[in-house]
């Protein structure tokens, strides 16, 4: 009954004002760079040269890169869904000691920088890692580095939480009474799952799968580090074409190809329309139960495999950072303070840490302000307009960080926008990447503020601006802190865009890690491991803080 009055009570002017900042910001720092990149590649002597599109798309090398990108994304997505389904069941149905600890631990891989994940899997899969050791015991010679298997394994590690948490939340929303009813009507456990539970999980499964597909299709840091010279996704290939071969034409076409795939995945995500569940049924009963009988084995196996999946790469990474030539010690960490001989870094890595912290603060603040205003605007929009605006705001998520970074380089290098040397360049690029996450965190929180509370405040004498301040602002404080922390973590780990625009003498931590890894020598690898461990600790600290003071349900996919 309230819906028809919505527009009357929220003036269009407020909505428009809320949208002005995000539209301007994303226009300058997202639309212009991307459009410039594409037009630079596709225009010859001031004229559109669309023949290039067909030419590039039909070339064997494009086909092979596109094919690899597609199949590794499909296999990664399928493997992630299969691996994470038991964890989703655990989250949606089982009460066990350490439940909240596991929930918190699961989110760690997802917020880890791609560079750290790549480095960790190098450590796990390399000749000195646990996989090779296991192979040695069994009499095999295993080195999975620079293989598609390594990339897919890292992708599963990275996206496990997305599926487990999204589908787990949906599983909670499935009323166990409906499952009980199916059982009393003669369905066995498997039939019940197939005919009652699974259909209700399908939207969440489709939504989570399309997000994982999006992340793996546009994967950059993981592939760059684990794939070696022969394995490349479209994103990696764009980076190689632009930085090494200066082939803007092919790079532009590949950007467009990737954009099309991203839009398709986002459309699928929208259609899936995953909903968040609550832990209670209509009758207010908890849907969680203690495991009994054979279920206990399933619970134990799921917890163990989740712990191994999350724990082994991280533990190996940390171990390798202390495993110096002269035995366990702090050698690699000490070396971080200087540029030293044999080090590939132009500046002491410790300085990269300082850069990352400062840049992260600027990027996260910007993302919170811009994304927050966008969320307010979206909240006030209704109907189709909201769907379209929502999808457009998700675009930076998939339009390739590499495209954004390279677009920055060529679009913002001349008046009126010569920002090449501006200290704001990197924070702006990272904010563009973090904004979709901020919106996805704040919009559900805004939508969840009951209209009744605003009405109650008005009936008690609060004028509109005080209603906003006393009700909305207060209820959004925790989600906003959560979004800020999440944006900070994203900025700390951002690699694809930053690698283009970071100056040689002012790298961020992921850029410094990548540079160290691209050089030979045990010291460089060791330093990369140590820096990755530092970045891991920083990210974990930020997320812990988010968990303590903010709303932990961030990034609501």
């Amino acid at each position: 009954m309230n819906a028809p009055d919505r527009s009357a009570r929220t003036p269009r002017a407020v909505t428009a004002a809320a949208f002005a900042v995000p539209v301007a910001f994303l226009g300058v720092f997202f639309a212009v760079p991307v459009a410039t990149l594409i037009s630079t590649g596709l225009r010859e002597g001031g004229r559109w040269d669309l023949g290039a599109v067909g030419e590039v798309l039909t070339s064997p090398s494009t086909r092979s890169v596109a094919w690899f990108t597609l199949w590794q994304a499909v296999v990664s997505t399928a493997a992630t869904v299969v691996a994470a389904l038991p964890a989703a069941w655990l989250i949606g149905r089982i009460r066990f000691p350490g439940r909240s600890l596991l929930m918190a631990a699961l989110i760690v891989p997802f917020v880890l920088p791609t560079v750290v994940v790549g480095t960790a899997f190098l450590a796990v899969l390399g000749p000195d890692g646990p996989v090779a050791a296991l192979g040695g015991v069994l009499g095999f010679d295993v080195d999975l580095r620079r293989t598609a298997t390594a990339v897919i394994l890292a992708h599963v590690f990275f996206n496990y939480a997305v599926v487990a948490r999204t589908v787990g939340a949906a599983w909670m929303a499935v009323d166990p009474a409906a499952e009980d009813a199916a059982r009393t009507l003669g369905a066995d456990r498997w039939t019940t799952f197939r005919t009652v539970t699974l259909p209700q999980l399908r939207p969440a499964l489709a939504g989570a799968a399309s997000i994982v597909f999006l992340f793996t299709f546009t994967s950059f840091g993981v592939v760059k580090i684990l794939g070696g010279p022969r394995i490349a996704t479209i994103e990696v290939e764009i980076h190689r074409l632009t930085t090494q071969l200066l082939d803007l034409r092919t790079a532009s076409v590949l950007s467009l190809l990737q954009l099309a795939a991203v839009i398709a995945a986002l459309a699928l995500y929208r259609r899936a329309g995953a909903r968040r569940g609550s832990a209670r049924t209509r009758a207010g009963r908890s849907v969680l139960h203690r495991p009994a009988g054979a279920e206990r084995w399933g619970v134990a196996a799921t917890i163990t495999s989740a712990a191994l999946l999350v724990g082994v790469p991280i533990a190996t990474l940390v171990w390798r950072s202390f495993d110096t030539a002269g035995g366990p010690g702090l050698g690699y960490y000490r070396a971080l303070g200087s540029t030293g001989r044999g080090s590939a870094l132009f500046v002491p890595p410790a300085e990269a840490v300082r850069n990352s912290l400062v840049i992260g603060a600027a990027a996260a603040t910007t993302a919170l302000i811009v994304g927050g205003l966008a969320a307010v605007g979206l909240h006030r929009l209704g109907g189709r307009a909201r769907g379209v605006a929502d999808s457009s705001l998700m675009l930076p998520l998939g339009v390739s960080a590499v495209t954004v970074g390279f677009g920055f380089l060529i679009a913002l290098d001349e008046p009126p926008l010569d920002l090449r040397t501006s200290p704001l360049l990197i924070p702006a690029a990272q904010a563009v990447i973090a904004i979709p996450f901020v919106v996805r965190t704040l919009l559900p929180a805004l939508d969840a503020v009951p209209a009744r509370l605003r009405e109650a405040a008005a009936a008690l004498g609060a004028p509109p601006h005080r209603v906003w301040w006393e009700v909305d602002a207060r209820l959004l404080r925790r989600p906003a802190l959560g979004a800020l922390g999440f944006a900070y973590a994203i900025s700390l780990g951002e690699f694809g865009a930053t690698v283009f625009i970071a100056r040689a003498d002012a790298p961020t931590v992921p850029v410094a890690i990548f540079r160290a890894l691209s050089q030979p020598g045990a010291l460089n690898v060791g330093q990369a491991m140590a820096l990755s461990t530092v970045l891991l600790a920083l990210t974990a600290a930020v997320m812990l803080l988010v968990d303590r003071v903010g709303d932990a349900r961030v990034g609501g996919f």
């Binding site: 028809p4 405040a457 006393e470």
Partner: protein
């Protein structure tokens, strides 16, 4: 305190008329229960009085002021919402003191008045409780204290007790009623429950399909509803169609010697259970289909009621059903004979 007057208020949502020319007057210091089924428009009327919605036509007055276009926050009308709508980010004192803070009451006076308001609803010492830890009844009292604390001109209650269980509801009903009398406050309480309406209101206004169907004292509305629809809404069950004829009213129960009292043609009849007397030589008979207790009183559902010697009756269950005060010893399946005390039958327009 103020009197509240609603004149000719109409409201439609997307072409669907919800309120159709509603007039209401609530005297200063009195309590009006607004009774209506779900969808009758009673919550919309309440929102219009509170200033949360605007009427399409008509006006709202507090004393002699036309407040139709005054926004909710400047209207001074307190609202107790059905789901309480307590602010989850404030403690009980923060909730109760919210309206005082908006009015610019200073901290010291605020804490005194918050304490007073909590005393009034019987929740002394609850100042620092988190709303999430309150029981349903406590939350309802906090919501009431919050609405009363700024001393509003009028207090509106939307289904104030709907979320509570039966026992608590009855206790709170009595408490609310004496509270309103003590505070001398003008109240409109919206409800779909006739028991609640009768216990709370000095008067009951019945809202049906967006129009006021009847206004009156609770006893009058319940005992003498204006129409069959109102009778159903106030919980009366023995309602039948009839036609005024020579010598009484012709019904499916046979000819009843009821005084037409100005009615003519088609009418509706209300037969109170107390007007049905079980007697061996009664002219009606029927079969007991069920026995139940209403507030401890045994009631028999007697089906197939009809003239005792009607040769046309096809089966023993063919005929209307009547609620009858049960005699001791009746069991399901008994055939019983009845007489209707015609003077107690109430006629209504149809």
């Amino acid at each position: 305190m103020s009197s509240l007057t609603v004149r000719g208020v109409s409201k439609a949502f997307g072409g669907l008329t919800v309120l159709d020319g509603v007039d209401l007057a609530v005297e200063d210091g009195s309590t009006l229960a607004l009774l209506g089924p779900s969808g009758s428009g009673k919550s919309t009327l309440l929102r219009i009085v509170a200033g949360l919605d605007q009427p399409d036509a008509g006006s709202v007055h507090l004393d002699d002021d036309d407040v139709t276009h005054r926004p909710a926050h400047r209207r001074g009308v307190g609202v107790v919402f059905q789901d309480q709508a307590l602010f989850p980010h404030l403690d009980v004192a923060g909730n109760v003191g919210f309206g005082l803070r908006m009015a610019g009451v200073d901290r010291r006076e605020r804490s005194v008045r918050v304490r007073d308001a909590l005393d009034v609803v019987g929740l002394s010492g609850y100042e620092h409780r988190d709303p999430a830890t309150l029981s349903g009844g406590e939350a309802q009292r906090v919501a009431l204290a919050r609405a009363l604390a700024p001393r509003p001109a009028v207090v509106l209650l939307d289904e104030p007790l709907a979320a509570l269980d039966q026992l608590l509801r009855e206790r709170l009903l009595v408490e609310l009623r004496s509270l309103f009398d003590d505070l001398d406050v003008t109240v409109v309480a919206v409800t779909h429950d006739p028991t609640e309406a009768a216990a709370l209101g000095d008067r009951i206004a019945v809202l049906l399909d967006g129009r006021i169907a009847q206004v009156g004292a609770p006893g009058a509305v319940i005992a003498a509803p204006a129409s069959a629809e109102v009778a159903g809404l106030v919980g009366q069950r023995n309602v039948f169609d009839g036609r005024v004829v020579e010598g009484g009213v012709e019904t499916s129960l046979g000819l009843l010697a009821v005084d037409p009292a100005g009615h003519a043609g088609p009418v509706a009849l209300l037969v109170p259970p107390s007007a049905v007397v079980p007697t061996p030589d009664g002219p009606l008979r029927g079969r007991v289909r069920g026995l139940l207790y209403r507030s401890g009183t045994p009631v028999a559902i007697v089906a197939g009621v009809g003239p005792r010697d009607d040769p046309d009756r096809m089966s023993p269950t063919d005929g209307p059903t009547l609620d009858v005060l049960a005699e001791p010893g009746w069991v399901v399946g008994d055939e019983v004979t009845l007489r209707i005390h015609a003077a107690s039958v109430h006629l209504m327009v149809r």
